[in-house]
């Protein structure tokens, strides 16, 4: 309180998870007056009658109140305001020299950008993510002495200190230089009375969450097995896959684009491959592989079957290596027994980077709020709950799956570190041709196509959307080339091997759909970059690859226009959707049309009509979670908090498995906070519901318990 009075501690204006206007705790002051003097001359207005007798104490009380509001604004970043930009904001918030009874600053609502979500990581990190980051203590495992350990050990020191300014991705901080003195006169914009100019609100640089990298075991540790194909696959036999670090590190907040955390390059571990220019020879003689081949020869083993060459393999695995890699592969093919020495830097040395036991944020919260007994009921899948059978394995094996899961958990930094050794996914040892004895005659890349997509997409979640775009363009180039090859009657890789006409058609279908998938990712990335014009173009091109998704994509483009505020364009797209769906008909089409109409009414600020249309959808499809949630949201804007809550609660109770979604929970908790001072109890009961249903990828922030 004293802080606030001193005017130094106005909170860093970010409180993304509390509605900052949330009221202060009531001090129970009984004011007799109707009005108060809000501050000498400045505020002196018509209603000063009560001020004269009692103004000083009143102002004091007023200050206390407003300070209470400060507490409410409750920014986790309520510190010295280490982010420089906030300073300006603070100054604005504190008009000085308004006479002795001037109003003191209170809960300054946050002038931060609400849309680009850069606030998310900062506050997300508050409780959990900061721990690994600032703790920084490297968990040095008693790991085998791998050649990489020195390199790895250096990382923790390189983790940037919390106070370091984090570089902001240029795309997201477009700030034009001030206009030169070109004869333009600044004009005042006003409503009736004009107060001075104000500075543009400064952006807070997104805070990067840096999980502490910890040294872990490399499974292909010794030179003995470095280039075995089995390296690639045996990870599931040598390490526990489920060991990943804190789930909240860098997890996104609902309703905002993923955190624009920018990984400081210094915090990034060196790729293992840079250990030194040792050379590694590809398999020299077939003998050591005999047993591997024997393993794969077993025909009833589905895994082995998957690895034997077939037309489908050729189709799926086709990839066009880069120039250097092609050279290596050609050399391998030319002299199978000779020693082709490959610079070790060019080889892939993947490794698990995180073997600390993953936290369970839901359980942590349960321990805090519901006690140990309740927390004991919480069960998450872990290594021991996976059957050691093939079915169990199927969910955990292969790097792609691990990396995909890391991304699903929002552990983007971790995923990036583990992706690092794979380089650009074009190293020679990622091609079957590199192992002529293990995969005789087999060609193509071992890297699943989805992994390439994941590899490219990951960067945008780390705040490097431009890098994502670059990678996606490279993938697109190869896809286009393969398609061109197929259409010219060649094989995927441009060779002349015979392909049946049906096979060719199937292949063209596959590669067209892959090209479409790349375009989808590009469009998503552009949307994240807020380059709406290009994003819309990209979504249009997706329609040519996935014509069956035309209604959804056109609706999506319409929603983009709506998001920008371009209601007319949104309407135009929604009309196009109506035309398209009229032909196809069907329940899904009708729902899409109604949904769009509802959104259009939202854009026109007509919540009553929007509510009517969402309700209409519910009549046709009572289980529609989106319509249900959106109708409830409309009710709130119509001033019907209780009705809105009833609707959401009923929906969640009806089918918790389906409806306990982050966004629904977020809306529920927000409304609980608005409803009464006892929101905590209600949130805790939600936590119990969540505990029985959600896995550890659940984003606990949406419960707003912390």
């Amino acid at each position: 309180m004293e802080d606030a009075r001193g005017g130094e501690e106005t909170p860093a204006p970010q409180a993304p998870h509390l509605p900052p206007l949330a009221p202060a705790e009531e001090q129970g002051l009984l004011f007799q007056e109707e009005t108060i003097d809000l501050g000498g001359d400045e505020f002196g207005s018509e209603e000063n009658e009560s001020a004269s007798e009692d103004s000083t104490p009143l102002v004091d009380k007023l200050n206390e109140h407003m300070m209470e509001s400060v507490l409410i604004s409750d920014s986790p970043n309520n510190s010295e305001g280490d982010v420089g930009d906030l300073g300006q904001v603070r100054e604005e918030a504190e008009p000085r020299g308004e006479g002795d009874s001037g109003p003191e600053p209170a809960g300054t609502p946050s002038p931060t950008s609400e849309a680009d979500g850069d606030c998310a990581p900062g506050d997300a990190g508050e409780d959990e993510a900061v721990a690994p980051g600032s703790g920084g203590a490297p968990r040095q495992d008693a790991a085998p002495e791998t050649p990489g350990s020195e390199a790895e050990a250096a990382h923790p020191e390189q983790t940037p200190p919390a106070a370091d300014p984090v570089p902001v991705c240029t795309i997201f901080s477009q700030r034009a230089p001030p206009a030169p003195g070109d004869g333009f006169e600044p004009q005042m914009v006003k409503s009736p009375s004009f107060g001075g100019t104000s500075e543009a609100p400064a952006r807070t640089p997104p805070q990067a969450v840096q999980p502490s990298p910890s040294l872990s075991t490399f499974f292909g540790d010794a030179a003995a097995s470095h280039s075995l194909a089995s390296d690639f696959f045996d990870s599931f036999t040598t390490s526990a896959f489920v060991s990943v670090s804190n789930p909240s590190a860098g997890s996104p907040t609902p309703a905002s684009p993923p955190p624009l955390a920018v990984p400081g390059t210094e915090g990034r571990p060196e790729p293992v491959a840079t250990r030194g220019p040792q050379a590694a020879a590809p398999p020299v003689s077939p003998e050591p592989f005999a047993h591997i081949q024997a393993v794969f020869a077993g025909s009833d083993d589905p895994f082995a079957t998957a690895l034997s060459m077939s037309e489908m393999d050729r189709r799926n695995d086709a990839w066009l290596p880069g120039e250097a890699t092609r050279g290596v592969l050609r050399a391998v093919a030319a002299q199978q027994r000779g020693a082709v020495f490959v610079d070790k830097e060019k080889l892939t040395m993947p490794g698990l980077r995180f073997d600390n036991i993953q936290g369970d944020a839901v359980k942590d919260l349960m321990l805090r709020f519901l006690g140990e007994k309740a927390a004991a009921k919480r069960q998450v899948l872990n290594a021991s709950s996976v059957e050691p059978s093939f079915v169990g394995l199927k969910q955990l094996i292969l790097w792609f799956v691990r990396l995909a899961l890391l991304v699903k958990l929002g552990l983007f930094q971790n995923a990036e570190m583990e992706f690092e050794p794979f380089g650009n996914l074009d190293q020679p040892d990622l091609y079957y041709e590199y192992y002529p004895h293990v995969y005789p005659g087999r060609r193509g890349s071992m890297v699943p196509f989805s992994m390439r997509i994941l590899h490219a997409e990951l960067q945008q979640y780390l705040g490097n959307p431009q890098e994502s775009l670059d990678r996606l363009h490279r993938v697109k180039t190869v896809c286009s080339k393969i398609l061109a090859n197929l259409e010219q009657g060649l094989a995927e890789d441009g060779g002349t091997s015979s392909v049946t006409p049906e096979g060719r058609q199937a292949s063209i279908r596959l590669w067209r759909s892959r090209l479409g998938r790349v375009m989808y990712s590009m469009a998503n990335c552009l949307l994240l970059m807020k380059d709406y014009v290009l994003a819309v173009e990209a979504y249009h091109s997706v329609i040519t690859y996935y014509p069956e998704q035309q209604p959804q994509l056109l609706s999506g483009i319409g929603r983009i226009a709506l998001q920008i505020g371009d209601i007319k364009t949104a309407e135009k797209y929604f009309q196009d959707v109506e035309k398209v769906t009229q032909k196809s008909g069907g329940l899904q089409g009708k729902i899409t049309v109604l949904m769009n109409r509802a959104f259009l009414y939202l854009g026109q600020n007509n919540f009553a009509e929007a509510h009517r249309f969402f309700t209409e959808i519910l009549r046709m499809d009572p289980a529609n979670a989106v319509a249900n949630n959106n109708a409830a949201v409309c009710l709130l804007y119509l001033g019907k908090l209780k009705d809105s809550l009833r609707q959401l609660e009923a929906m969640v109770q009806q089918d918790p498995r389906h409806y306990l979604h982050e966004s629904v929970l977020f809306n529920l908790t927000t409304m609980y906070e608005l409803e009464s001072s006892r929101s905590m109890q209600k949130k805790q009961s939600l936590l119990e519901a969540v505990a029985s249903k959600e896995g550890d990828s659940f984003n606990t922030q949406c419960l707003k318990l912390a």
Binding site: A15, L18, L21, P23, F31, Q32, F43, E46, E64, E68, V89, P95, G107, T108, P109, T112, S113, E114, A176, A179, E185, Q187, V189, S191, F194, A200, P201, R203, T253, A255, S256, P257, M312, N316, Q395, F400, V401, A404, G410, N524, L528, V536, Q552, L562, G565, M595, L602, N605, V626, N630, V633, L636, Y637, L638, E662, V664, F666, T670, L674, S676
Partner: protein, 412 residues
């Protein structure tokens, strides 16, 4: 001073939340192909996720609405909306509840409550809801003052209030520049910069002219019979982006003829700007009256009515001048002298009498001249002498013509 009065539990709780537009939930698609090890697993997960778009799960922008997560920014010209909820947290019925929401700005205090009537009673766990709206018309500090009074079962009258303070920021930076054409037209360039942190869709940027002018907006071009904005599909302004608008103002006839009226500082008009942001959140602003210093023409103004843009070397051509007596009450008797320059040679008699010219009236004069030098030449050397006052007015650089060799045919 630091001693707080004894705390008293209130039976009612007041909660306030700003209602900015809801946002659409975005999800992070992770997919795989049938042939990959997870098989259909990831895709199935995405289908089961209610926040993805049915049938187009990879589309990042979903349909699920989420409530505003923070106060956000509020800008001049936008509408401040807020939910005010008064909840009975106690287990007794409370009577005569009056909720009042005022907004205190630096200059005034406004009542925002929908109704000022008291609610007779509020049962436990029930609430009184109000959604207030206010178009923000001032920059700077605003304080929302919510006051609640009620009567307990015991008949005790209770009262409390809360203050919520927020800053209203400036959304746009507007700069203008005037160009005076040789005719009476005035061109206005306006640069509008988005100084908020979110994209802004400019729905309308128009110039409302003052009564002396007619305005033509020069921000669209006709393409295949359709009027296309010069900004094309870039209908929105990214944060810190600036956009330039151009307007042409012509004095209305009645004012144009009385040239004396448009003199000194004149009011041109004001810009009216309407924008929209997330899901149609609307804002509107006007600039103050734009003022322009009309070029001073002195007592006698010489303007050009007609002049060719390209002429042949050493061939005579014609221009038409208009001479206006701009003085308010003085009749002039004018003599015209034409002085040759290095390149411009006047044809005709110098020193001729133009006769009397009454205040605010004008006369037109056809003159012939030729140029002896190629290139862009300035027409200079006209002198008017008022014989009453023995005052001479000099007119140089009246206009430019492009002089080309006569070998090149000049299209007329």
């Amino acid at each position: 001073m630091e001693v707080n009065p004894p705390k008293q539990e209130h039976l009612l709780a007041l909660k306030v939340m700003r209602l900015t537009k809801p946002t659409l939930f975005t999800n992070i698609p992770v997919t795989c192909e049938e042939k990959d090890l997870p098989g259909d697993l990831f895709n199935q997960l995405m289908r089961d996720d209610p926040s993805t778009v049915n049938g187009a799960e990879v589309l990042m922008l979903g349909e699920m609405l989420t409530l505003p997560q923070n106060f956000g920014n509020i800008f001049l010209g936008e509408t401040f909306s807020s939910y005010i909820s008064v909840h009975n947290d106690s287990n007794q019925v409370v009577k005569d509840i009056l909720v009042k929401a005022d907004l205190q700005t630096s200059s005034q205090r406004l009542n925002l409550s929908a109704s000022n009537a008291a609610v007779a009673e509020l049962k436990p766990d029930c609430c009184i809801d109000d959604v207030i709206h206010h178009e923000v018309k001032e920059i700077g500090t605003h304080i929302l003052v919510c006051a609640v009074s009620y009567t307990t079962q015991a008949g005790e009258k209770m009262y409390f209030r809360k203050f919520f303070k927020f800053q209203v920021l400036k959304p746009l930076d507007v700069k203008t520049k005037f160009y005076n054409a040789e005719t009476d037209e005035v061109f206005l360039e306006a640069q509008i910069q988005n100084i908020t942190t979110s994209p802004m869709f400019m729905e309308k940027v128009s110039l409302e002219p003052s009564i002396m002018y007619n305005v033509t907006e020069l921000n669209s071009v006709s393409q295949a019979g359709e009027c296309v904005s010069t900004f094309r599909s870039r209908a929105y302004l990214q944060p810190m982006d600036t956009r330039q608008y151009l307007y042409c103002l012509k004095p209305k006839k009645e004012f144009a003829e009385k040239a004396g009226i448009i003199k000194g500082v004149t009011v041109i008009g004001k810009l009216d700007i309407v924008w929209k942001t997330n899901l149609g959140e609307r804002g509107r602003l006007q600039t103050s009256q734009l003022q322009r210093m009309a070029p001073g023409y002195g007592d006698v103004r010489l303007s050009l009515e007609a002049i060719p843009d390209t002429v042949n070397l050493e061939e005579p051509f014609h221009i038409t001048c208009k001479i206006t007596n701009c003085s308010s009450e003085r009749t002039m008797d004018l003599v015209l002298e034409m002085c040759n320059t290095n390149s411009i040679h006047w044809c005709g008699i110098s020193g001729r009498q133009l006769g009397k010219l009454h205040p605010s009236s004008s006369l037109c004069l056809a003159l012939t001249l030729l140029s002896s030098v190629q290139g862009l030449q300035s027409v200079s050397g006209l002198r008017l002498t008022d014989t009453f006052l023995k005052r001479t007015y000099e007119y140089d650089d009246i206009a430019q013509v492009c002089v080309v060799s006569s070998a090149i045919k000049v299209e007329s």
